[in-house]
Symmetry: C2
Subunit: 209 residues, 2 copies
Amino acid sequence: MTEQSPRRMTKGERTRARILDSATELFSRSGFHAVSLRDIAAHAGLTHAGLLHHFPGKEELLVQVLGRRDRVDARLLFGPGTATPEGVLRTVVGFVARNMTTPGLVGLYVKISGESVAPEHPAHAYFVDRYRVLREQLTGAFAALFARADPPPGHDPALAARQLLALMDGLQTQWLLEPDAVDMHAAVTAFIRQLGLDLDLTPEPAPGP
Amino acid sequence: MTEQSPRRMTKGERTRARILDSATELFSRSGFHAVSLRDIAAHAGLTHAGLLHHFPGKEELLVQVLGRRDRVDARLLFGPGTATPEGVLRTVVGFVARNMTTPGLVGLYVKISGESVAPEHPAHAYFVDRYRVLREQLTGAFAALFARADPPPGHDPALAARQLLALMDGLQTQWLLEPDAVDMHAAVTAFIRQLGLDLDLTPEPAPGP
DNA sequence: GTCTATAGAAAGATAGAC
DNA sequence: GTCTATCTTTCTATAGAC
């Protein structure tokens, strides 16, 4: 969850990280508007005034919570694992598998993305951009895979990218409502098979120590 | 939007309906937590104290807003138009087409369903039940259509039902973020075609007055 | 049925002591 | 860097006049 080697973090950086962890967990549980800075500060073990020493306001705190998670995903999405079209799909399907181990973070995205469709929401621009990046990567991957598939399935790569992202998002809501009844990973891999693609989507072994 | 012939409504019933209309619109625009009873009352042309004469509290107001919309859909989903499997799909795809004309209501569902994954949310039980009903109807329809399709596509009807609902939900978020860039109806009908079904999903003419 | 007035709680944010 | 104390606003909800 933290970003740097803890040994090299100052006390302030550690407090900041603790605040971000708490904000992530509470936003995940209840959304943005339903959580107060006092809640977050108490969870992180300080007062809300202490919290505001590290972050200028609630909105900025949300943006940083989202940004921190996103940096992890972006590294995966543009890293060495996505040099091939199969790699891109493997990585995205890997997000789904990973998400099934972190209901809190999934809750964060479901709640905040729902709130963020309002243009004045502090995370609106963030989500517009996030979909754009994921869509572009997936569109390129589908284009390559459809072109080399036999027989060519004749789907629109951009549409397939949008459908896959929509499927992933919609499954998250159903999974959060009834975790035991929904296998998001199975539903996503089945969709890719329905597109006429026969890929090995076994995830790469996790990098490093 | 209103439910009864306006001529037979008392003044109180009319006010109640106006409040529900306003609550629907404002919840749609900004979600549950971000809207106050004062906002809703002002939009309906009375004070928040006047509003509370008609509804016991904010949560009950939300439940009634959702229930009113649902009664309309339930009538369609179990009405004469869904006597056949094709009719069920036609009706559900019709929901998508209708939704593209009412971004406000779509916003309501995206925001409230996102918030409602928390078990203590006033609309939690509502959404669990809503998915169950839609899933059951769609599973039955897919089972019949897969069985009679040539060649039989060999998909799991229950999984396809879940995928279709997830796709519809996920598309709504993308559509609300960028309305002009997303054609929900096209994406949904394409998905049904990808399942190996070749159906005429032209909507039935709306039932007359 | 709707209002004014207000209670009481909680929110985000700031000032200044330590 | 963190605290207490406080300001200001806004919220849900209630009481009682009209």
